[in-house]
């Protein structure tokens, strides 16, 4: 049994955490071959070869694969699909963009956001914003899967897999990249951070979001936000935690001024410890919080920042 795993590569660099977590999930299915594809992917391929459990790395470098345009990337993956029973990737926006396209080209259903591998054809995945867990058994010859990384531990380093450079990329000419607007941040990446501090509508303004950021910086944490905070312009959209944003499961999640709507809980309720700070004691967030503090966040958050560390 062989597994082809699409590595997460951004601007020539391997997103190690997401890829290593997907390797953990994929190892249960068979020998893992990692595909590093991009305009530059050699360094990412070398980094992937060091992940424990990877048996081979394929590097595909071609300008047509730059920015991981779905049309060209999917065509490459399909051209490699022979000999692999499972084609998998971490459930990032890149993979969510390309994997369903791969699946349809192979006439297979995609199995999105898998949280557990039962066996080679049976998988668990959350549905209804995480309010139900479904076990599904695939009857497809090839299984195309994205793994929800927050539920798997990252595979360690220590591998020494052979790296092979491959060609075969073609430009479908259907799409082209125009520009990126990347949010610059020195903080840990949201989906891999050990601690996340999030703010919601209760924070009230972009200016006041700085008290959330100050607490995060004190803890070496990533900053998250609810949809309300993003829609109101207090925080950029790539900070959004929830059903339609990012799904996180850190050791510690501190929710400040977040009521706890179903859609937000979908993105954070698997965190190890949840702390809620909210002045409304009826807020649904307190139902999932391990430690709740009913208080005005404008007093409690700065006080917490001062007393921690």
């Amino acid at each position: 049994m062989a597994v082809l795993l699409l590595a997460e590569v951004n601007n020539g660099e391997l997103a190690l955490d997401a890829t290593a977590k997907a390797v953990t999930a994929a190892k249960a299915l068979g020998d893992v071959t990692v595909l590093a594809a991009g305009a530059s992917a050699a360094a990412a391929g070398e980094a992937a070869a060091k992940i424990d459990g990877v048996s081979k790395v394929l590097v595909a470098e071609d300008p047509a694969l730059g920015h991981r345009l779905a049309e060209n990337t999917a065509a490459l993956i399909v051209s490699l699909a022979d000999g692999y029973e499972h084609i998998v990737a971490p459930a990032t926006t890149d993979a969510k963009n390309v994997m369903p396209r791969v699946a349809a080209l192979l006439d297979a259903m995609v199995i999105s956001d898998v949280t557990a591998v039962v066996d080679g054809e049976t998988f668990e995945r959350p549905i209804y914003a995480g309010n139900a867990i479904q076990t599904v058994k695939s009857s497809d010859a090839k299984k195309v899967i994205t793994f929800r990384t927050s539920t798997f531990d990252a595979a360690g380093e220590g591998g020494a897999a052979p790296v092979e450079t491959i060609g075969g990329a073609t430009d479908t000419g259907l799409a082209s990249w125009v520009e990126d607007k990347v949010a610059e941040s020195d903080r840990p990446e949201l989906t891999s951070a050990g601690i996340v501090v999030s703010g919601g509508r209760g924070v009230g303004s972009e200016e006041d979001f700085k008290i959330i950021e100050a607490l995060a910086d004190k803890l070496g944490a990533a900053v998250g936000a609810s949809r309300a905070a993003v829609d109101s312009g207090y925080a950029p959209n790539d900070w959004q935690v929830g059903q339609t944003g990012k799904v996180v499961a850190p050791e510690l999640y501190i929710a400040c001024g977040i009521s706890g709507a179903i859609q937000h809980l979908a993105g954070m309720k698997d965190s190890k410890i949840i702390v809620a700070i909210n002045k409304d004691e009826e807020a649904p967030i307190f139902q999932v919080a391990d430690f709740g503090l009913v208080a005005d966040l404008f007093q409690a958050v700065p006080e917490l920042t001062e007393k921690l560390g």
Binding site: M109, A132, A175, V182, D290, F291, L293, L308
Partner: protein, 252 residues
Amino acid sequence: MKVLVPVKRVIDYNVKVRVKADGTGVDLANVKMSMNPFDEIAVEEAIRLKEKGKADEIVVVSIGVKQAQETLRTALAMGADRAILVVAADDVHQDIEPLAVAKILAKVVEEEQPGLVIAGKQAIDNDMNATGQMLSALLGWSQATFASEVDIEGDTAKVTREVDGGLQTIAVKMPAIITADLRLNEPRYASLPNIMKAKKKPLDEKTAADYGVDVTPRLTVVSTKEPEARAAGIIVGSVDELVAKLKEAGAV
């Protein structure tokens, strides 16, 4: 240009779902159903394209049970011109998979020849996030997923996409599939007169068999269970107590 918008009837986003005790699925009997929120955004975007003179007809299509015609009427009341209902399920509990939906939509596209398809990025029931991409693959069209801004000039759509690190802008060749993210627009409400007018707009009823598509699921649902409940937490009285608890738990 004709714009095709697929819409799905799903459990209302505010409803807290209940898993059936026998583990066969989620209880959808007597539960409020609505248009999938991302599809409302897709319909709105199509209407805005028409208002800007970039689209001349909007066709909405829904696949599922007969009651999905309510969802289509809502889209018609928002401003869509015409609707197609493809009946493919007898029971509301039978969710047609994205692959089958994409195959039916591909046939509808073949028949209707739209210049653009705008879908939602995901349905809030199965959370698959796949139909748009699959349709695009089957048609050999370009795709622009998770769109937060769409600018159509001639035979090119410039689309800004919400990606993990921020925003990415791409240019795709038309015809194309665009899937709508939350921040693409604020969908309008249907006014009462428009709801009345929508009742007179054309709604064609078809079946999956009319399109020759087999809707047998590729993924058999073995079981559906409740997620593990969290242990009850405690309310602390002060920041000091919170800090003490977090240190005790080894969290900071």
